[in-house]
């Protein structure tokens, strides 16, 4: 019985994989806290055992009554608190720094849906429950959910973020070790929550370039969006309309939009998404509500991502971090080309000159 367990034990490694640039620092903190915990646990266990033995009850031995000691109390309140402050500060610092992705991050779109992860790349290729990334390149995921809350987690990267329906969430990482890593959904999302898993493949840039050039076929994300733009009839209003009933979408990406209630918002992804799914939520100044049909239920989150990519491509200059969005002219360098150029870059993870 025990012997039959042996192979299983042997297969299990007790040290977690570290495969991203974030993983090292997070683990350093983890081991720091674990070390402090181990020390404190030992100290407490040891004193209990020691006191229990030393002062064990013997006949006719009386306890010495001690009231307490304010000095001691202060010591063991303040010292642990200081140690905890270190844990807090360290953790908060790493966390805060991990908020904004570097400007040269490669953008990938992820849609969570009961019970699968759908991945879309700027060049238009897609996959399900798998994500391929080149080693050394920061990758930024833009994530949406079609239904309930999911959570995108890659333990080997020490990253995780919930994907809340109703808006975009994002997370980023820089893989630094080629290999194949678990992708888990870690927010309970129903029956097959445990099946909402997949793999993240971290590849050498050249290998990645090969893989990426094999994909494609359906045109870039923006081109797919353009097709949808025709298919859903957006074009009839937003491109052909001559009477000024609809706003011109050319060049709006990331520009301020004046709303009819006086507010100004930035036309970022979240705003564009809302404008498509629930056009009445924010009305552009000078236009009528209720003209544009609701597309909620007709277009999926994936479609929305494609449409947004197209709208982005109508903007003359997309900022660096959005380079994945694709532009009609000049055409987006394919992922393969990007990866190849990355491979030539001096150090992985550094900004790639464009």
């Amino acid at each position: 019985m025990l012997a039959s367990l042996l192979p299983i034990v042997a297969a299990a490694s007790l040290i977690a994989d570290q495969a991203s640039e974030q993983a090292g620092p997070v683990d350093a903190l983890f081991w720091f806290i674990t070390g402090v915990s181990a020390i404190m646990t030992v100290v407490i266990f040891a004193s209990i055992c020691f006191f229990a033995y030393k002062y064990r009850r013997r006949t006719a031995v009386h306890a010495t009554q001690i009231e307490g000691s304010n000095k001691l109390e202060l010591t063991w309140s303040i010292l642990p608190f200081l140690v905890m402050l270190v844990m807090f500060g360290w953790g908060a610092d790493l966390f805060y720094k991990a908020q904004n992705p570097p400007t040269n991050a490669m953008e990938v779109f992820v849609t969570g849906k009961q019970w699968m992860w759908k991945v879309q790349y700027p060049d238009g290729s897609r996959e399900i429950d798998a994500l391929h990334v080149p080693v050394g390149t920061p990758v930024k995921l833009t994530m949406a959910s079609e239904d309930v809350i999911h959570s995108f987690s890659v333990p080997a990267f020490r990253i995780r973020h919930d994907v809340i329906p109703g808006h975009y969430d994002s997370v980023w990482f820089t893989p630094n070790k080629p290999g194949k890593y678990h992708l888990f959904c870690t927010e309970y999302c129903g029956n097959q929550h445990a099946g909402m898993t997949g793999w993240v493949y971290v590849m050498e840039p050249r290998e990645y370039a090969n893989w990426a050039s094999g994909g494609g076929g359906q045109g870039t994300l923006a081109e797919q969006g353009q097709a949808l733009f025709q298919q859903f009839g957006c074009a009839t209003c937003h491109l052909l309309d001559q009477q000024g009933r609809c706003p011109i979408l050319r060049g709006i990406y990331n520009k301020p939009v004046q709303l009819d209630d006086g507010r100004t918002v930035i036309a970022d992804d979240a705003y564009l998404r809302e404008s498509i799914l629930d056009p009445n939520a924010k009305i552009v100044a000078g236009f009528q509500p209720d003209v544009m049909p609701h597309f909620k239920g007709q277009v999926t989150e994936e479609n929305v991502i494609q449409l947004i990519a197209y709208i982005k491509s109508l903007s003359p200059s997309t900022p660096a971090s959005q380079q994945g969005g694709g532009q009609p002219t000049p055409p987006t360098p394919s992922r393969a080309a990007r990866a190849a150029s990355q491979a030539n870059a001096a150090k992985p993870g550094q900004a790639v000159p464009r």
């Binding site: 908020q99 904004n100 992705p101 400007t103 930024k140 833009t142 808006h167 975009y168 969430d169 994002s170 990331n254 930035i266 970022d268 992804d269 979240a270 705003y271 900022p319 660096a320 971090s321 959005q322």
Partner: protein, 118 residues
């Protein structure tokens, strides 16, 4: 310990006049809050409405409910209830009101696009 026996013997019976005056004030304030809502004061509208509501509520609590004559313990409990409500609302609001901050362009973050907001 004498507080007990005395609380029993000395019940504070409010004067009818006081009660009626409070009632009158409450009615007036109700009229006032309604009237003010017809003025266009922007964000001041809600502030005034809440100020009036708070003063009305305090009057009811202080006089009608007799908080003014209760023990300091009861007063403490009343305050605690309100403070806890405040904790819930303020901290939750702090999340909603600062959620977008990091995603907006920030001088120190070299990220003009600001990425994605929620």
């Amino acid at each position: 310990m004498s507080a007990h026996t005395h609380a029993h013997l000395h019940v504070h019976i409010p004067k009818v006049r006081t009660l009626v005056l409070v009632w009158l004030a409450l009615i007036c304030l109700t009229g006032m809050t309604t009237a003010v809502s017809y003025l266009e004061l922007g964000w001041m509208n809600i502030v005034i409405a809440l100020l009036i509501a708070v003063s009305k509520a305090s009057m009811v609590a202080w006089i009608f409910m007799g908080v003014r004559h209760t023990t300091s313990l009861t007063k403490l409990f009343v305050v605690a209830g309100l403070v806890w409500l405040g904790i819930m609302i303020l901290i939750t609001a702090s999340d909603y009101n600062t959620r977008n901050w990091t995603y907006q362009p920030m001088p120190w973050a070299n990220n003009p696009a600001g990425g994605l907001s929620k």
